[in-house]
Symmetry: D2
Subunit: 366 residues, 4 copies
């Protein structure tokens, strides 16, 4: 049902199927006055574009974005920004086989059960291409937040068994390798591992990490609209995510209060800060001024060429081997999706926060 919108004041509404005419997004509630052009958006879309390495689907898509509304004389006007990417490489191949059974790990079965039938071409609305709308909409949020000194660093933290080492962290390297890892050595090992997955017609999972710096203190609300709660929803709404953490995440379960509490301290400039950041940048659901740190676990691509067991729509058990164009890993292309969904959530919280204090409201309207 209605589930294609995200956000309260800054809101994105996405639409489109993998093999339909196109994919798009309407961004509503973008503040007026932000310089914006198609190149701003395209730079983000290019980070998730297929066909960039042997570890992504060879599907050829230019993924060129068009802005249809909401921008006038190079600036956002405050009215909805409609963007579209027309699909190009929708091979008109034979879907009769794939339409006949339920692929394990996919939404075919649940879609059928919910809606009575499904668009079986390439996963329809549950395809990874659905994230194009998120990235296009979120690119605007990133640009706007950047203009306020809020910055994002997002990368593949681990791929299969290969984890980046904090000691070898090199932010500049992230955009220089197809896996978007910040550790050159890990990136090499991860590539070897993925070669092995490809060779065995298998696929790999992994973890994406996102760090946000420059946040004002106090974003998010104390109870259900905690910043972390909305981030959890934003990230868990991305297909294939099965786990989400902030700060020390699941490690806190084995920590003690003494080791996990972050002592407050006074910095050189006299302001309040935290000595450590186990909390990952939120306290009581509100941003605490430290870097926001979050992680998401992605499951391995469910579409694999190896033989699998499943059932067909005649209720028979069968063996299948999924052909077609599939990434052996979702993680590298998901990096920019995590970044943009994080940005959408933060921008919305930043706008919602403006009405928190009467004195500031009175000053605003003076």
């Amino acid at each position: 049902m209605a589930g294609s919108s995200f956000g309260n004041i800054f809101k994105i509404t996405t639409w489109g199927e993998s093999h339909g005419k196109g994919i798009g997004v309407v961004v509503d509630g973008c503040p007026a006055g932000l310089p914006l052009c198609e190149e701003d958006i395209q730079a983000f879309l290019n980070r998730r574009k297929p066909g960039q390495s042997k570890f992504t689907t060879p599907r050829q898509e230019g993924d060129q974005v068009e802005i249809l509304s909401g921008v006038f004389e190079g600036k956002t006007t405050g009215t909805p920004i409609s963007m579209v990417v027309f699909n190009q490489d929708q091979k008109s191949r034979d879907y009769s086989e794939i339409a006949s059974y339920y692929r394990p790990g996919h939404a075919d079965y649940t879609f059928d059960a919910k809606y009575g039938f499904q668009d079986y071409r390439g996963g329809g609305r549950s395809s990874g291409r659905e994230t194009i709308g998120r990235v296009a909409g979120g690119a605007i949020a990133v640009k706007l937040l950047n203009s306020m000194g809020i910055d994002f660093l997002t990368y593949s933290k681990s791929i299969g068994p290969v984890t980046c080492s904090p000691d070898k962290f090199n932010a500049d390297f992230i955009l220089q390798n197809p896996l978007y890892m910040p550790d050159e050595e890990a990136a090499e090992r991860a590539q070897d591992y993925l070669e092995e997955c490809l060779a065995t017609k298998n696929s790999s999972g992994g973890v994406v990490e996102c760090i946000v710096t420059g946040l004002p203190v106090g974003l998010g609300d104390p109870v259900f609209e905690k910043l972390n709660a909305n981030l959890a929803k934003a990230i868990f709404s991305i297909g294939a995510v099965k786990g989400f953490e902030i700060g020390d995440g699941f490690d806190v379960a084995t920590a003690t209060g003494l080791s996990n509490n972050d002592p407050f301290c006074i910095t050189a400039d006299g302001s309040i800060s935290k000595e450590t950041n186990h909390s990952g940048g939120t306290l009581g659901g509100m941003s605490d001024g430290s870097p926001l740190i979050l992680r998401a676990a992605f499951k391995p691509t469910p579409s694999i060429a190896a033989l699998q067991k499943t059932v067909n729509k005649s209720n028979e058990e069968i063996d299948i081997s999924i052909k077609g164009r599939h990434d052996p890993i979702i993680v590298p292309r998901a990096v920019v999706v995590i970044e943009t969904m994080t940005a959408v959530t933060i921008l919305d919280a930043l706008l919602m926060n403006m009405g928190a204090r009467l004195d500031k409201i009175q000053e605003f309207y003076k």
Copy 2:
């Protein structure tokens, strides 16, 4: 700002502070015709009540709930159900010390930054007592779902370093021990560990797991309103949660497609099922008919008696030792909070799902 409501059709709005007059909830959108009385709610509140063992705060609260509206002749009427628990044990002690500094791991600092000042008595709105409203509201959701064959099993999966073993899982034991663990041996070791924490004026984290059975297939929507996304928000909106997983959770990051995919199969009665349940009961964001399995990681109670460093409101670094009534662990009392928030999320998805198919709508209104 406005962040005290959760849900779309079935919606809870909570209010109240730790040391104010009381804590309450308004449940809006509860279907008419559910038999309901205060005892139904009380049974759930008793599971989170303080003072039940040495591992919970000795604060004495009856936590007696009153239903003020929405029930007539023993049944819900479809109108809002207002419930209140009046606070009893608000010690009128001296708060001047606690009001003077920012407690590490607490929301004092972020509250001050956001709102200009805070209710420093016992954590105010960020106190664990805030969850009373959630539990009272969610108890109704559990009861309603139970009437439809949907059942909940929720327990402490781990406490500090002690994890329950699947081999020793005993559902009946859960309500028979103050830690709500399903493994008797683990429960003993966990108690030893907590004794140690108390002795060292320290505290412990842990993990809660919730299993939901009997769900129809298709609850949740494909994109932003995925069932798992709303569960992530629901659970992450609970104070002290730092991680959330569904099914295999973070383990999927090191899995392969072949090991992680759940093959579909035909059951003895001819219906479609999954051979395994790595997915934890959702596919493409919709319930898949298998048990829903989720886990949340809780950080250690930040209020500890051990000496800690922090800053006061005069911007000076100081050492503190927090006195007062605090649980050495949040997890056991959080078990019922996880269960009820899960129920609220599922019931809302179940109501939202009724408009998914035209044929079913036409039949409904025939």
Copy 3:
């Protein structure tokens, strides 16, 4: 279903039935720092209290409000403000007759059809007492807006055939007569008319007008969230309202562009204003700096002692005469309901508007 909340950032959630334990409201999203006490609220509730003249129901209710949360040391904290008015005069009389049939002009029939049964005691949730929650919540909005120079003037514009004359408008007189009319002569004639209604066991309709001054320009959004659209919903959500107008209202249908357009002009202080105010204070759905003027038409009280035809729940046509305590007119007590619902709508628009421009956002967070 869920329909007891109004507003986005500043949000009121009301609950309670006419003959239940009480009536209340949770105000979420109130900015922190507003001085607030129960007397502030009580002053508004007293304007809608029954038993104040022979033209209101003789039901005796103190309608004393209690604030249960959200205020600390005399100021709002930014957390939800829960308020309750406990019912006192719920006569435990025999409801068997009224429970047996559907009263014309009431919600008995539709309630039964929707929910399967209803709380028939005094109208239950559809009673006029439901507005207590609106008035208590809206009183906070009025107080906050007053602190920003935004003022409200609300009164009975007409009662039955008696309309106040603009020439005899006396704002001071409004609170000095039980009908809340601004025209002394009209008030006298209206009282005569109502005496006549009482004598004939009949009732009267009327019109309420509200004027808001001091609004900043630009509140409301261009399309669905127009300020006038939200005001229309707010006012039409009040029971018994059958018509709503802004500015010249229905008269614009017979006007021409030349007569209806308000020319812009430059005022003595050099700012832009309008020479006339046919628009009633909005242009394109946004406040235009002129006074906001709205009107609502209320139907006559449906509960009348005169003989009426209806059907009972055994599907038989019967004649009834409704006994009990009823106002011969709703309008005077509805004046404060119109005012407070208008205030809630405006305050929400004022908070939503803060994120409209990037330059102002950047300045806010500097």
Copy 4:
């Protein structure tokens, strides 16, 4: 700000400016299984298309709609339906004059004040062309409701001083005259009146009426989400609407309880009905089974060629005469906008209503 979405479960999100690349809508939450093609939508758009008579702007627009997503093999899939109408006749004329001043009765001034600047080409987002998205989205709602036996009859009730007579009501005539009036004689007089308006470079207001039959009893919720309240918002969100009524509307103000109450009666088939329909089809905010009757008052087109006074952006008072392509009356083209916005509101209420009763929910999921 975010204000371009309407509805809860069935939700439309519109975008686009008068002189931008196009106008569109995303329909989210449309139930799966509705047969749908572009011709279904086009039939509705043609009713609001310009250039059809001398009383509408001569702007030439084919207003051809394209469906970009959400329909597969001729049926809706339950996923968002994105539709677009590309603008064709955006004359690249000189806007420097119109950009220099504030047009009376338009949103130029309020837009500038709110957003800091505006898209001055043809009214931008506040143009009547914005309603294309509403009509395209609402056409789907009408089609779906028709499939359930719910029908719409919408027409111009009055134009300027000319009102249709109930005695001469001819439903078939509505689509046979460019003014969409149901009374042939009135239509002739209205045309004469509009000729006169054109000759004097002036414009006219009018009233649209919409009648909906076949509604089930109980749609809408008792308090803030009354069916009439949401209809009021839906209709008042249409530009140029200044008044809204249900049933007897403003006439109730001078009625008495005895004359205004609709007696319930038993119909020939034994079901409950009302003898009269002063209420216009709602009681207590819920549909009562009688025809829903609503009316909206539209102001005269503010763009007139006659000389008007206003101010320019240099804060000088000037005289202007607006050139360009403008309708001398909005009403006839607004008829289909009223119908489709009414349909969107009703369909959403119909979907929200499905969760009202536990017994029906249990049966639905059996």
